[in-house]
């Protein structure tokens, strides 16, 4: 099983995970407004969280959860507002921020092995054609080990189960030495055991100092997995610890009212 020990997955390299650093890096989103295919997908999103947190993005279909993840990942142009990571504005992309797409949007027939996908995480270091250095190989090895993929590393990705696919993505993010993990509906389509295992893994990742942000549609499991939540429906409706924002009134407002009633949260 993955993460059954209380040990951290990865040794604490600089700018990697910061559980031992004694300070917390902040992800701050200010008055974010994003268009997606001519439509305004997000308006007035503001929140601030920091590494060590496990943040759920909650809202109905079309609320802009995926759009928010993509905006933080630098995949969508921002109309107005700002995104700061560790005090500096996020430009186009950052090695420290990993994006894990929805599994349904990935071509699993693509001829590539598990190790091949994981080693893509070393592109920022290795560039176009440089051979992988011992440091790169070690990072890939650590990521495979942490996600319990060593036995599967030479397998084609088409031959993986849903839970294994998700672990491959996580391993790529670890090989990237990412600090922030943005996951789009990581739990959807997984069987019960894989869900439990993934929840365990995400919590362990936050414990070693990473920031996990995930869109999530299964309201029953939010309390078990996440410690912070952002309720949104194009506008931000509420942000805070799960215990505080996961109230019937706020959920009602998120899922059953027209979007105009959403008020901006600071």
């Amino acid at each position: 099983m993955i993460g059954t020990t209380t040990e951290f997955f990865m040794p604490n390299t600089p700018h990697d995970a910061c559980a031992h650093c004694g300070h917390h890096h902040e992800l701050r989103v200010e008055h974010l407004r994003v268009r997606y295919r001519e439509l305004r997908a997000l308006d007035g999103i503001s929140f601030a969280t920091s590494c060590g947190a496990c943040l759920a993005l909650i809202g109905p279909n079309g609320a802009g959860k995926s759009t928010l993840l993509k905006a933080i990942a630098g995949l969508l142009p921002i109309e107005s507002g700002k995104i700061f990571w560790r005090g500096t504005q996020v430009a186009k992309w950052s090695r420290e921020i990993a994006y894990l797409p929805q599994r349904e949007n990935v071509d699993w027939q693509f001829p590539v092995t598990v190790r091949g996908v994981v080693s893509m995480g070393r592109y920022p270091q290795a560039g176009w054609w440089r051979a992988f250095s011992p440091t790169d190989d070690a990072a890939i090895e650590r990521a495979l080990t942490a996600m319990d993929l060593l036995d599967l590393q030479h397998r084609q990705i088409s031959a993986l189960s849903g839970g294994q696919q998700q672990r491959v993505f996580l391993a790529r993010a670890l090989a990237q030495e990412a600090h922030v993990l943005l996951l789009d509906e990581p739990f959807s389509g997984l069987d019960h055991n894989s869900k439990a295992s993934l929840a365990h893994t995400l919590r362990a990742l936050t414990k070693e100092g990473r920031l996990v942000v995930a869109s999530h549609h299964d309201l029953d499991t939010v309390r078990d997995i996440f410690d912070e939540a952002l309720l949104l429906r194009q506008h931000g409706i509420a942000f805070g610890p799960v215990a505080e924002v996961f109230t019937d009134a706020l959920l009602e407002q998120t899922f059953n009212h027209p979007p105009s009633v959403g008020k901006e949260v600071a």
Partner: protein
């Protein structure tokens, strides 16, 4: 049997044709892996048809020279490719539809123009190829195109594969996705032009898809896809030149036909993804 292999080589135009077939087949085979992985065969097919009107306009403006044919074909393919992008962005049409409209219109214009220019005999060559008519200079042009295309494709192998697998994730890792896509298409256009003399613009697509598509049914290895595709492209093209010479058939269509035959074999008999295997597996599950 040995005579069958050796005899054709006593003619210098056969030697050139064989060399050219190996070279063009190899380069196209390598590039075909990208076309198959990008699932963009139809787009590339459209661009190959766009070469012809470019040649026509170039002859009209500058007369019939090697360089005018090359440049005309290059500019026409670029123009129609980028034009379709502009049309799809500026309207509600998707890019495939825009591309279809632009290239068929341009192709029709090209046919009419070439007939008016009185180069009907060469037109046949540009449509279906004439590998026996190659001169030493053409061989050198092909060599440098192959050299450059293979060099570029190899150099951008890693980021290109990441882009083809998942362009969004590639972007978040700092891969210049858009630039690579343009670069890939530019290289594919040049490769198409290099195969013009062998198989012509009507058949160029066959050479630029079939080799890797065939290997794709045999293996999951990406490396095998590229190098297996190259090898298959080169060997099949050279064999086709021999067959064509012995049976007195046009080499261009024979090249594509041989590739098609090999593909059919792998489609049916591939131990991994062949028809026999998959139907047997299906029957077992019932």
């Amino acid at each position: 049997m040995i005579d069958w292999l050796i005899e054709p080589f006593q003619h210098p135009f056969n030697q050139r044709a064989m060399l050219a077939a190996l070279l063009i087949g190899f380069t196209n085979g390598y590039a075909s892996a990208f076309v198959v992985l990008k699932k963009s065969a139809l787009k590339v097919g459209s661009l190959s048809h766009a070469l012809l009107p470019g040649i026509a306009v170039a002859i009209l403006l500058a007369g019939l020279h090697d360089w005018s044919v090359f440049l005309g074909a290059l500019f026409a393919a670029l123009l129609i490719g980028l034009g379709s992008l502009a049309v799809s962005r500026g309207s509600r049409l998707d890019q495939d539809s825009s591309l279809a409209i632009l290239y068929t219109a341009a192709f029709s214009g090209g046919i009419i123009l070439l007939r008016r220019l009185g180069v009907t005999q060469q037109m046949d060559e540009w449509l279906f190829g004439n590998i026996m008519g190659l001169r030493d200079a053409d061989l050198w042009t092909n060599f440098w195109i192959s050299f450059g295309a293979l060099g570029l494709l190899t150099a951008m192998h890693r980021p290109l594969l990441m882009t083809l697998f998942d362009s969004e994730v590639a972007t978040t890792l700092g891969v210049p996705v858009r630039a690579l896509n343009y670069l890939l298409f530019a290289v594919l256009i040049v490769v198409l032009i290099s195969s013009l003399q062998a198989v012509g613009c009507m058949l160029a697509l066959g050479l630029l898809v079939t080799p890797a598509a065939t290997v794709y049914l045999l293996t999951d290895s990406t490396n095998a896809l590229f190098w297996g595709g190259s090898l298959l492209g080169g060997v099949a093209s050279a064999t086709a030149v021999l067959i064509g010479w012995h049976l007195n058939l046009e080499q261009g269509p024979v090249i594509v036909l041989v590739l098609g035959a090999v593909f059919l074999l792998s489609f049916i008999f591939s131990p991994k993804y062949g028809l026999l295997r998959t139907t047997a597996a299906k029957r077992q599950t019932h």
